[in-house]
Symmetry: C2
């Protein structure tokens, strides 16, 4: 996502600096205008510079976007503090949860930077489509409209429509919690569920995560928006999304350890599922679909018990909409 955002900004002749922890990647980008791992076939524009020196990235930037995975997020945020000036805004593009603190990335940013001028980028935006210049919606979420506006101005491009949402809690909760439902939908695909049952799972899964998020302070309507239903739809409808792949392979009988071993890095969806389970327990929210998905991931229950969790939702006669 970092490379994609930098590419989008730099393509419009605005300078953008990309931080990479790895020397080799920086050299490849500088010398061959290619990101060797993520986008070996896309030429990166001249305005995109790459460096391993954090201070070079921060210097002169109006907007700083952090995209490192959740386990390394706090460390990176912490090393930003001394480099930032008061007029710079910082946003997370990582849809993940910190374990064991159960905090979303913007809270980690606020804590490490000692400011509330933070935000998050979310929505249904897979990176290959953005790199291909396909029309894409991006949600910029922040409580402070100054943050939203600065980020929107930096990101805007002919193929990117920026939407604003001041419900930062809801946007980040949606980005975290949707992973579990997308894994469940991947299991359903792997098991060959009928379209009716899949739509049933999608909707009740969405209701479940909305319920938890509202308990945490989110606005219900955020779940009807791009960062909610839009992102869940995208991640569950593309067969090559990590969440779908995890679900399909679980349904095929592989263990989570085997599945993760074959992936380049541990997907956020796994930590997110564990984290949301803890959040639900603390908040006293019943999430039968998410709980069963975690049990299937942990090998405690078999994939074909997922339907019982959905069915179980209906004790007597439930109401269609939660709020």
């Amino acid at each position: 996502m970092g490379t994609t955002i930098a590419h989008t900004v730099a393509t419009r002749n605005r300078p953008c600096a990309l931080w990479c922890s790895d020397d080799g990647t920086v050299r490849e980008i500088r010398e061959r205008r290619r990101h060797p791992r993520h986008f070996p076939n896309s030429e990166l524009p001249r305005e995109l510079t790459a460096t391993t020196a954090l201070e070079e990235v921060i210097r002169g930037a109006s907007v700083v976007i952090v995209t490192v995975p959740s386990p390394r997020f706090r460390g990176t945020a912490s090393s930003l503090r001394s480099l930032l000036s008061a007029d710079q805004v910082v946003l997370s593009a990582t849809k993940g949860i910190e374990l064991p603190t159960l905090k979303p990335m913007s809270v980690v940013l606020a804590e490490e930077l000692g400011t509330d001028a933070v935000g998050a980028i979310s929505g249904p935006n897979s990176t290959p489509d953005i790199m291909d210049g396909r029309l894409t919606a991006v949600v910029v979420a922040a409580r402070d409209f100054r943050v939203t506006k600065a980020c929107a101005q930096a990101l805007q491009a002919p193929h990117l429509d920026v939407y604003a949402n001041d419900d930062l809690v809801g946007v980040e909760a949606a980005g975290i919690l949707k992973n579990t439902i997308a894994i469940a939908l991947g299991i359903a695909s792997g098991l060959g569920w009928a379209p009716n049952t899949r739509a049933f799972l999608f909707t009740r899964g969405l209701a479940e995560i909305q319920h938890l998020a509202v308990t945490l302070g989110a606005r219900p309507s955020t779940f009807l928006g791009l960062a909610g239903v839009g992102d869940l739809l995208l991640t569950s409808s593309t067969p090559d999304s990590l969440n779908t792949r995890i679900g399909v392979e679980l349904a095929g009988g592989r263990s989570l350890a085997e599945i993760v071993a074959a992936l380049p890095e541990v997907p956020e969806g796994i930590n997110s599922t564990r984290g949301s389970h803890e959040l639900a327990k603390r908040a006293g929210v019943n999430m039968p679909i998410a709980r069963r998905t975690l049990e299937i991931m942990e090998g405690v229950m078999s994939p074909d018990t997922l339907e019982d969790a959905l069915h179980h939702h209906h004790c007597g006669m439930e109401t269609d909409a939660l709020c």
Copy 2:
């Protein structure tokens, strides 16, 4: 849908009578236990009786469900009036709008029957999946809980989970308005849109129809439920749904007249799209996606202008969630 509901009820050893206007169909069902047109390969249970005599269907029934297409709905409802007793409840399973009155079917029922003990059946439930016994969610909507309860009791089956919603306006509006967005998504499929752009269209389309429905008195949360996002997801994700087929063929350059000529009957989605356009005009609600979809259906605009309508949504910076 009529045959499917009757089949579901009768399979559980509860008598159910199916009304058909056509003598030949009634004879086939009686003699060969098959519905010749809709389900030639499913054996219909003995408890399912078929008749062309409306009074035989109504006599002794606790719940009456009307499933005739919207253009013939009022006529059928009207002929029910003298046959009904005060303890019988009547629901519509037709997700359509009456033209030119712009009324949903439950309003037609209430007017023709002179009672408010009416309701609607909706949700993500395609008939082949129900006939195959696949787990399916059904929404029963009525203002009067007596209606909901009677219908839920009649419908409940091991593979049907019944959900209740007292927002009758919202449930019927969702069933009508979702057709247009599903046709738009069919056009997008036909044009080979990227997953990001498809998810963008799905979400903004949902926001648009929710906006109109709320103006008509619906509860926003209904659109996050089974009759809202659930039904839109189902009808837009199955390639053989009528709405998807209409959209795909429009994208392929065929005219609406050609497309409809090849179908067994005029799909509700076409009247629904025309009707919702009128509703939006009267309510003063801006629906760029629905309007452009109608223009494409009418041959006034070419299918590849659909993306402009989506893009146009973004004037300056829009908010992610509408309410």
